[in-house]
Each structure stands twice: as structure tokens, then as C-alpha cells.
Amino acid sequence: MRRRDGAGHAAVICGLGVALPDLRVSNDEMCGGLGVSADWIRARTGITARARAGQGFSTADLAVQAGESALASAAGGAVDALILATITPDHRCPATAPAVAARLDLPGIPAFDLAAACTGLLYALQVAAGLIAAQAARRVLVIAADRIPSLTDPHDPVTAPLFGDGAGALVVRAGADTDPGALGPVLLAADGRDTSMITAPHGGFLTMRGPETFQHAVTRMSETAQDAAASAGWRLADVDHFVPHQANARITAAVRRRLGLAESHVLEFIEQVGNTSAASIPLALAHASAVGALRPGHRVLMAAFGAGLTWGATTLVWPAMNNADRKENIR
């Protein structure tokens, strides 16, 4: 798939699509078997409802819907590779990405899964940027799709109320680093010295040590966001929208305080959909775009943290693009 045509080998975002199930499960519906109240869940997480895919709905189903929407948004031009960021693949073997590519009528292109938990989107963007820089691809479809509720213990008040199902996708093309949508430096990191902080063993439920996760998420996201902004040559005061992984509204608030950002400069999309893992950043972007808060020319700083531990951040100037999503679902 090696190609050597066109000018510019920077990674430029040119399409966005999401998939969000219509079903919402409220705190009142959740709290029965958890031994906590609906108010406790809201105070603890900032979440009042979470999006849930119905029975028989797979990660691939979400990924295909988001991918279709992103391809329609990008308009024109085939993609050369597909990367699916997920920790809830439909099978242990094979990977889910080839099936997603086939359903998107993209046979033959390289397609693979990438597991970096809630940081998966940023890891996948960096890999896409690498493929483009190596001239191995001109356009890459990056999809982040997770169904974390399929991993949670319905009786665990720490994890069960937190997560929702969702997917988001971005089309990344080769272009000039001055193009609107060009990714700034993507900073990534991992620390696997204590994998038990957030873990789901084969055949077991997801467990999470809440307070420790909170501290690491706040520290890692605020530090890496500052570093990514500096690497792009931006001051935090230049940022129009900070888009953290929507882990928990309390984490977002703590990161915002550490960065000294006003609430109006932070995109939030968790209250009605829950923590959608790797999909949360594209869902927040799509939501902000649909309601008119995010517009072309805005400076966007993204940061994520997840199991692994993994974390990362990057920047871009939001480009003009079509929005092919069902707006009523993400407003």
C-alpha cells in the first residue's frame, strides 16, 4: 500500500462521525441493585443517564455506524487503512476491524484493532499519523468503539453506573501541517507497573479503584494536556475548547481547575450518555459541533487517560466539515 503522491505528509482530520444508541438508562433504573441512590450516582459521576446498545448489538455494529458517518462527512476519496480502537472486540479472535472494513465496503485495506482503553482514540490517531508520515497511506479511517457495560458487574456501584456504549470515528488525510484539522504533536504514554488499578480479567468483571484512578486521571490528563499545548506552541489561554476524555464529571472539573480553564472552555458530554471510553472524545466533539459551540477555526486541545495505565493529548484547529450524524441523538 505504499504510495508517493500529493503534497504534505501531516495528518489532517477531515471527517467525523459517531454512533450513539437511542436507549438511555436513568439513574433511577440503575440504582436498584447497587445499594446507592440516584442522587449518589449523580453526585459521584455527574451522570444522570447512560447510552446502552440493545441485546445483540455488537461493537462492530457501533463501529460501522460511526465509520459510515465519518466517511460521509469526509466526502470523497477511499481510505487506505482502518484502525479500530477498542477494548471490547466482538471476539478474542479475529480482530473486529477486518469485519468492520468489510461491512464498510473497504475490502483489502489493512484493518486492525488497537487496545489502549479510554486513550485508544489518541493512540489510533498517532498510528494513523505515522502511516501517513511513512507514506503508507493517504487516508485512514480511525474508529473508537466500546461497549464497556458488557464488562461491568451490574451490582458494582463504582463501575456499573459509569459507562455507556458508543462509537466515534475520524477520517485522517495527508496534508500540510498548516491545514485546518492538522494534528499537532500527539503525546502518548503508558505505565503498566500497576495494572490492577483498572482491570478486567478474561471472563471476569471490570474493577476499578476509584480514588486512585481519580488521582492518576487528574494528574496525567492535566500534565499531558499542558505538554501537548506547549508542544504545539500554544498557551492554555489560546485554547478555545479543552476536550478531556469524559471519564467522570468530577475528574473533568478537577482537571479544569488544575489547568486554570474557565468552564466555558471545556467540552462536556457525559451527563446523558455516560463514560463511553475511547469514543468519548469524538462524541463530545460531535455534540459540540451539533449545538454550534465548536466551529471551524477553534483551537482544540484533547487529552485522555485510561486503563493500562495509558494517557495522551494532542491539538488541532477545528476544520470545516460536513456533519452526517443524526443531530437529534447527540444534542
Binding site: R44, Q215, R250, A254, R257
Partner: protein, 74 residues
């Protein structure tokens, strides 16, 4: 309430006014995530007290006592 705890609570958006010293931490709005952030704020001020140690306090007064004990020992 000590000026330090009052300052920290304000930073955490927990209004310290009108909270009784014998109020349980949860009653005062201090759940385990707030204590995790409180531990981080203390760390920024050079005071090392883990979230677990803070969570061992039953009341706001206990929490204040934990801070007071730790600070001279720095």
C-alpha cells in the same frame, strides 16, 4: 475549623460555612473522590497525606485534626 482546611474546602467548591465540626465527612460533601483531590491539593502544598488516611477521619473535626497533626511534622 483551621484556616488551611477552610481554604482547601473552598478550593474544592465545598462551602465550609455552616458545616458543623461534628458533621460526618459524607454529610459535609466529602466523599472518597473529594478526599482524593484533597490529598492532591495537600501534596501541592508539600503535605503528604494519602486519601486512605484522610478517609479514616469520621468527622470534619477528625479531618482537621489529621491535617493539624501532619503539618508540624513536615
Amino acid at each position: 475549623m483551621s484556616p488551611l482546611l477552610s481554604e482547601l474546602l473552598t478550593e474544592l467548591k465545598v462551602d465550609p460555612h455552616g458545616i458543623r465540626p461534628d458533621a460526618l465527612l459524607e454529610e459535609a460533601g466529602l466523599d472518597s473522590l473529594t478526599l482524593a483531590e484533597l490529598s492532591m491539593l495537600l501534596d501541592e502544598r508539600g503535605v503528604k497525606i494519602g486519601q486512605d488516611e484522610l478517609a479514616a477521619a469520621a468527622t470534619l473535626q477528625d479531618l482537621d485534626d489529621t491535617l493539624t497533626r501532619s503539618i508540624p511534622a513536615r
